[in-house]
């Protein structure tokens, strides 16, 4: 009889433990290989862009790229003294500026600094044009006088103070601007003037509208999902198609349809006037304002609420409610104590889905939102494609991301993410 201390062996004579370990490792490796494409995909299309976006909100290497020596000599200058920089700074700027003007990159810096103060765009364009033709051999005055002759703004301390402030590789000005803050001449952070504050109100409005839309989709979606889950499958399948059909229709088509319905001379107003509920000159304004955004977005996002709710309700055994009823609960109590708690997971999933989608919505608010129905994403789109201020767009996007994450954590603390069920 073999000793019981001898290890168990497989048919080919390797110890069973080792063989098991090997096969486990192979399985792990296979699993990793299987998810590798997805992981790579997410890395390239999701994590990397987000990281890049976060970086763009603070990145400011443009000044030292375009004015490499000026940045170094300007670093010693103190704008608080209220005196213009020394001659060597003007000389360095002239040399750097001439190289940049010939390489046709100087106006990029002008555009960048114009975000901080109007007028820099043309100042740099003009200076660049003059410096391209500048010949140091023929200089009869000092570099300082020469630059001031090109534009008198070079003789103002504020011009150099701004250049000094924005000469580092990183800047906080985009994030400050995204929070309606600015830096004054002394470098202190303060609120922007009241007539230029926009973003804080927009963030609040975006969150408020998103909450409202989420609430409305729950209110409207819950009974429909309940109906779908409890009807006979033949009828419920038909109803399901009615839910999914708009879901499959183009977003633009659905938004335009709402325009046709809601406008002043639209179907709804015409009907109300025809049956005499409102008079012809008191037609309701339901579009080009926040009402329009609310209605159109609630409709568009409704399926995202109904589907998770439906899949959760489908799994609730009808005998639970029957049991509650048989033990004397009223219909309402049975719903409140037995049925509703079972659907919380679906409400959570649908709520998060709708909320996060609506925070980032921008086509619908742009078309039907008018002034008080536009959201922060409209401004992010504006800064990306029209004003080309990508730094500010990145800062706004990062703040939005941080807000969503903060709300998600709050949700986790209150409801618990584990309770969420997507189906």
């Amino acid at each position: 009889m073999a000793s019981h201390t001898e290890a168990l062996k497989t048919a080919d004579g390797i110890s069973l433990k080792l063989s098991l370990q090997r096969s486990l490792r192979r399985k792990k490796r296979n699993a990793l290989l299987l998810v590798a494409p997805l992981f790579l995909f997410i890395l390239v299309t999701f994590l990397f862009p987000i990281f890049d976006m976060l970086l763009r909100g603070v990145e400011n290497s443009i000044t030292e790229e375009i004015l490499p020596t000026t940045v170094v000599v300007l670093a010693d200058w103190d704008p608080a003294l209220g005196k213009l920089p020394e001659e060597e700074v003007f000389k360095a700027f002239t040399v750097d500026g001439q190289i940049a003007a010939k390489a046709k990159i100087i106006s990029r810096l002008g555009k960048r600094l114009n975000y901080e103060k109007s007028g820099f765009s043309s100042l740099f364009r003009k200076t660049g044009r003059k410096l391209r033709k500048f010949d140091p051999e023929k200089l009869t005055s000092t570099y300082k006088e020469n630059l001031i002759k090109i534009d008198k703004k070079w003789g103002q301390v504020e011009t150099w103070a701004l250049l000094h402030r924005e000469s580092g590789s990183y800047t906080k000005s985009y994030y400050l601007a995204a929070l309606d803050l600015t830096q004054n001449a002394e470098g202190n952070i303060e609120w922007k003037e009241a007539d230029s504050r926009i973003y804080i109100d927009l963030f609040i409005r975006t969150l408020w509208l998103s909450c409202l839309i989420t609430f409305l989709t729950i209110l409207l979606g819950y009974p429909i999902a309940y109906l779908l889950a409890t009807l006979k499958s033949k009828t419920s399948n038909l109803l399901m198609i009615l839910v999914l059909l708009p879901f499959w229709t183009s977003l633009l088509v659905r938004t335009s349809a709402w325009i046709a319905l809601l406008q002043k001379e639209g179907v709804i107003n015409d009907t109300l006037v025809a049956i005499g509920i409102i008079s012809d000159d008191s037609r309701l304004s339901m579009i080009h304002n926040s009402t329009g955004t609310l209605i159109a977005m609630t409709h568009i996002l409704l399926p995202f609420m109904i589907l998770p709710l439906f899949s959760v309700m489908k799994t609730i055994d009808p005998s639970y409610v029957r049991a509650a009823r048989s033990m004397g609960a009223t219909g309402f109590t049975a719903f409140r104590r037995v049925y509703f708690p079972n659907t919380i997971a679906g409400i959570g999933a649908g709520g998060i889905l709708v909320f996060i989608l609506s925070i980032g919505f921008y086509i619908t608010p742009a078309l039907v939102g008018g002034v008080d129905g536009t959201m922060i994403s409209n401004f992010i789109a504006y800064h990306i494609s029209t004003s080309l201020n990508w730094g500010l767009a990145a800062a706004l996007g990062a703040i939005l991301l941080a807000l969503v994450l903060a709300l998600y954590i709050l949700y986790d603390k209150l409801v618990g993410v584990d309770n969420m069920k997507l189906g």
């Binding site: 109007s118 765009s121 043309s122």
Partner: protein, 365 residues
């Protein structure tokens, strides 16, 4: 003898390879899409491709994002566009950044039939050394003829007069254009508008004037919206591009009229990206597409004025409607009595700040 054969053979092969390369040349022309691209296809692309069988012109409707996309292409080191239709501020920015090539207008473009040099023929429209002007369009006011009463609005002050013309108006959601109009309506002469807007008092005065109609304004963002808002009866008047109003009035026969007072002139034209894949072909195309006849031909399809002075006399009838196009040009003398040239340099400096103020003003409710 041998050398001769070799040379002949070599040049034959060369010629063959050149022709075969030509047969494959695809030239990407970027423009705004819609009726505008169609007018370019009819007036420029089709005749050009007929004359040059080796070239195939491909349209790309990306002009609204031209600066951003061209920048991205240049950063990635792969420019795929050959000719790009842009507005002046984009042309200036792209030229400053070295992304558009500089053009010697007199050497590279066709002279007018009477020999006038292109630089004279285009005149002030050459706002940047990289820019080849194409059309002059204007932003002006259209109104519902059935909803403005007996006397149609005729001056820009009427837009700001809600007593005389009650009802909603549609304006573009952008400070440019509206602030100028507000000042003109407030009594500032067109010539002094930008001097005024450069001061804080001027900006405040413009907003104060805009305040008087704020609650009656529907703001539009896309060029097709004002025509739709007028057709639906959502508004009684709307600012719109003149070509869109022409389409509403003449092509779609809507009850819409238009006025030309204080129309804001803007240019549109071509640039060639510095690293365009078919630069030579692009230049040849531009020489053809911006000659006097071709610019006049475009107005058969859309009511935008040719940017060349010499083209004005050649403007003919609309291709399908058969009506005379000359009176519908923003540049026609009868229409151009009081015009405002949009100051591209002013807006390059002030767009960021004024857009912010404008949004804050809108939000104040």
């Amino acid at each position: 003898m041998n050398t001769l054969i070799k040379t002949t053979l070599a040049s034959a092969i060369l010629a063959a390879s050149v022709t075969s390369a030509q047969a494959e040349t695809e030239m990407v022309v970027v423009s705004w899409g819609g009726a505008y691209t169609k007018s370019q296809t009819e007036a420029y692309h089709k005749p050009y491709m007929k004359n040059n069988p080796g070239i195939k012109i491909v349209n790309d409707d990306s002009s609204s994002e031209a600066t951003a996309k061209l920048r991205a292409q240049a950063e990635a080191g792969k420019v795929t566009w050959d000719v790009v239709d842009v507005v002046p501020d984009a042309a200036i920015a792209l030229c400053d950044e070295g992304l558009a090539m500089e053009i010697d207008h007199d050497k590279m473009l066709a002279a007018a039939p009477d020999g006038t040099l292109p630089s004279v023929d285009f005149g002030d429209a050459i706002i940047s050394p990289c820019f080849v002007p194409q059309i002059i369009y204007s932003t002006t006011i259209g109104f519902r003829t059935d909803k403005v009463g007996a006397v149609a609005p005729s001056t820009i002050s009427d837009v700001f007069d809600t007593k005389k013309y009650p009802g909603k108006r549609a304006l573009q959601k952008n400070p440019a254009g509206n602030m100028e109009w507000a000042l003109i309506a407030d009594g500032v002469p067109s010539a002094d508008v930008y001097k005024m807007l450069a001061t804080e008092e001027g900006v405040a005065r413009a907003f104060k004037k805009l305040d008087t109609i704020k609650k009656d304004v529907v703001w539009w963002t896309k060029g097709a919206q004002p025509g739709q808002l007028l057709a639906d009866g959502e508004v009684v008047m709307a600012s719109a591009y003149n070509g869109r109003l022409f389409a509403a009035i003449e092509e779609n026969k809507q009850p819409v009229g238009m006025m030309w007072d204080a129309q804001v002139f803007e240019l549109d034209g071509w640039i060639i990206p510095t690293d365009a894949p078919n630069k030579e072909e692009a230049l040849k195309y531009l020489k053809f597409a911006t000659d006097t006849q071709r610019l006049a031909d475009q107005s058969k399809y859309i009511s935008y004025g040719p940017a060349r002075k010499s083209s004005a006399a050649l403007v003919g009838k609309h291709a399908t409607l058969g009506i005379d196009m000359a009176p519908h040009m923003p540049t026609a003398p009868a229409n151009a009595k009081n015009v405002l040239f949009k100051d591209v340099n002013f807006w390059a400096d002030n767009q960021d700040e004024l857009a912010e103020k404008f949004e804050a003003w809108l939000a104040k409710g």
